[in-house]
Symmetry: none
Subunit: 209 residues, 4 copies
DNA sequence: TATGAATGAGCGTTCATTCAT
DNA sequence: GATGAATGAACGCTCATTCAT
């Protein structure tokens, strides 16, 4: 039951435009592309884009909000699970984000390059939503600090920033071809980013309990 | 006797333009500002900007290359110091970057927002230079892995990405007002980011030596 | 049902722009006029010019190609007619060109001033087409040399250059008001240019057959 | 004793600039080149051009006036010679113009392309001087009409236009590589252009004297 | 819905010319 | 004479957005 674009086998043009926008934004960049590029990619007329969206920015806006909301929900769900160690929760978060990239690299490229890492321009409008993700991650850390498994002296917010920053850096590395983007790399990175942030780079030394 | 801008107290207009560009790019964003904004801020005629630079982009290019080179040199120097533990070297790197922001937040905002985090557009031309910074950091990690102080299973490149990503995320937080930008925060963050990445978030547990 | 510009009395804006361009180019010169002058003359918005043409040059390009093609076809047709003396064919060519000027002096002024006589700039791209006209004229001369009516020692190409050069010079004279541009002048010139080139300026002297 | 640019072996910078301008205008075209291109070619500073000339146009103006004056004088001298048939005088005129091109093709290219064939822009200011050349040629024809050697029904002005037009067309052909520019071609063309215009293309037929 | 012609503000860049030294 | 930094008006072109059909 398509809510937009009419039923009876008709394609949802709004969806078609959004999907085309992902491709075009990923390929050319939001600023470098024209609305007509999106229309061409979608195979629709110029003006139809403006029938469904008020502006070029609203397309990106929609894309971000849709996707980021999914991620926010996913993290919330992970956070809500009980009897799961913080390290495992963080692994699940890293896993969700990295898999998101694996399954739809164009979409994630757009989200990261055009929004979360472009906070000076477009991203500014979404700072709150972006910040919300950090807070959700921070909550995971917070409970670990509460149960004594995570250090007291590193605030949850700070830890969340480091964790998210590390992951986003990895995504950037894949996006721009700095590091190989293979399935093995993705899987290994999930583990290693958690190991790095939770366990640290240093060899553990003897501590008298 | 300045080679550019003439002697006897004359100002170096090229420098004036570059400094003005930093302010304007930081305030309005590279794409959103006009060349005339830079000229106005510098207090020079429109055309003079083009007397010294071939294009608006070349200004940003110059800004980035100047500043990034300084950072690259600083990291190289830190890396070259002997008998300094890797953790301390990483602290020095974090310290340098964070102090750079503290002393010239506009410049660092431009570097990060318009170049390193804009790899899809302008930053693409500088990927190599950006990557070079990661490699220098990786070298610090590498020697620590060699002497056994850092874990073997986390590659130096991976560790460097996480470390740099965490720092850049902090800078972003300060730039966009997500986290308070006080001197105490800066100092504390230097220590904490190293503690997080090197020592990990987890409480050390007893290990029988 | 016009394919462009819509039916039911709608005007073809592309045509309107082209016609306006002829006027403006003729009046102000191609380089001296602005695209906005053309748009104003056409009574359309600035951007519409770029909706139909890629650049200011493409407008001139279109104008030239349209018109020169017509002339090329006309000369080809004249050339193809049988049992017509070369002198008559050349008269028809001169007639066609001069009538073209008479009926649309602005257009011909643009063609000649901005293209055929501007081979160093814009015309360079059209040298081939311009040259094609000379060749067509040369063919007329060639057949006359073959049937013995024209002299052997003057090559057809050379003759064509002289003939065309003489006509273009006359057009220039009219364009810049050096010689009076009356209907009588036009008609008389058609005859005289042929008489000059074919018959020569000299009085025929007695030749014993 | 250099009148300008100082004596004692000093080079006349004004002359150097003019010579450089010829090269640059011929190579790039008057409109397409910048004043700095001329200064660079001359090896002098930007501003010096404006020390000697009021504007870019004045340079071209000077070039044209110098050269055209020489030609005007030459034609006048040819015209003034007594007991020389008109055909021979016209040969001398053609010879002078063609040799001018042969000896300094850049200069003649500039004169023709940027002035005489650009009457819509720069040339407009020189229409009088250009016209003066036609009149001088017309005088040669006029006297031939008076002595009965040239036809009565072709006016001298008209004949002059045809003659000059044919020559300029040939020069254009050489300038733009349409016809081969060899010494033989030059010599042959001098004869043929006179033969064409005076003798006509047609084979002479028997006329009873 | 769907089309694409029409609009027009905006911006980067050029370059002839001026002028202080 | 000589230099080249400084000026700023001008223009081609882009493209998001609107609108008549």
């Amino acid at each position: 039951m398509a809510s937009r674009g009419g039923g009876r086998g008709g394609v949802d043009k709004r969806r078609v435009i959004l999907d085309a926008a992902v491709k075009v934004f990923a390929r050319q960049g939001f600023h470098a592309c024209r609305v007509s590029d999106v229309a061409d990619e979608a195979g629709v007329a110029y003006g139809l884009v403006y029938h469904y969206f008020d502006s070029k920015e609203e397309i990106l806006d929609t894309l971000f909000t849709e996707r980021w909301g999914i991620m926010l929900d996913a993290i919330a769900e992970i956070d809500a699970s009980v009897d799961v160690p913080a390290r495992d929760k963080l692994y699940m978060v890293a896993s969700f984000i990295i898999d998101s990239y694996r399954h739809d690299p164009d979409m994630m490229k757009v989200i990261i390059v055009e929004v979360t890492r472009a906070a000076n321009s477009f991203g500014r409008a979404h700072l709150e939503q972006i910040y919300a993700a950090y807070r959700r991650i921070a909550e995971i850390v917070e409970s670990a600090r509460a149960d004594g498994s995570f250090k007291e002296d590193i605030s949850a917010d700070f830890a969340a920033m480091c964790f998210y920053g590390a992951i986003e850096q990895l995504l950037s590395g894949w996006i721009f071809g700095m590091i190989p983007a293979t399935d093995e790399e993705f899987e290994r990175s999930k583990e290693l980013v958690v190991e790095t942030i939770c366990g640290g780079l240093e060899q553990p030394v003897a501590v008298s309990g």
